[in-house]
Subunit: 135 residues, 2 copies
């Protein structure tokens, strides 16, 4: 059996001034994590530097210009054909209102204590518990 | 003042059958972390996929062919001109003896309980404490 390779994905926890975190929801007809909530960001593309790639992807998905503040953590997920290694950054919005692309159907600014009540894509649950220091 | 951008670096904790972890030592005339111990891996290069890039870099630095097993964690480091975001994988050697390149001066297979007695590059200390569950 062919060993599954790891691909890299870069995500961002965007925190607003009230300390709320932006979650965005995947369409219900998605192949992976249908209808589940996740963080902005995505596959790291070739020929792009790390930070500009994440800022561009975040702007496309959320309409927000953000600044990255620090490294928040890591996660992983096994798909049928490959595995995803996530590096998750922390950022803050510089400007703007959230305007979703067609890639997502809903968004919410969520207090850390409420984040686990959302149907979060399961690969992010261990990260969220550790990052937000939730039981 | 120009904001420092994050660049991405990919590292690997290689564990042998005895559960020891491979550390490699930077030359004492290095600009960053001189004489300190670190994990194999390095900057993610353009036009390379994530896993092949890390396997190639590890082979160059250590002479080892490895397999990646899982995502181990993340770290960050601030240099004078930029910040580094590290994603750290876990791997195991498939074959071979350690043969260092000119980029490093020494290596050691280290039990997890002894790892903090090495002069580890400081950016990896929080990760090491968490990953190896050290006080």
């Amino acid at each position: 059996m062919q060993k599954k390779q790891f691909a890299l994905s870069v995500k961002v926890v965007i925190l607003n001034d009230a300390g709320q975190c932006l979650l965005i929801r995947r369409p219900s007809d998605c192949q992976t994590n249908p209808g589940q909530w996740e963080f902005p960001g995505g596959k790291a593309e070739l020929n792009e530097r790390f930070e500009p790639a994440l800022l561009r992807e975040t702007l496309e998905e959320t309409g927000l210009n953000i600044s990255l503040t620090r490294v928040a953590g890591a996660a992983e997920y096994e798909l049928s054909a490959l595995k995803i290694a996530y590096i998750i950054m922390e950022g803050q919005p510089d400007s703007g209102e959230v305007i979703l692309s067609e890639e997502h159907t809903d968004f919410a600014w969520v207090n850390s204590g409420e984040i686990l009540s959302f149907d979060l894509a399961e690969q992010f649950v261990p990260f969220v518990k550790s990052y937000f220091k939730l039981g």
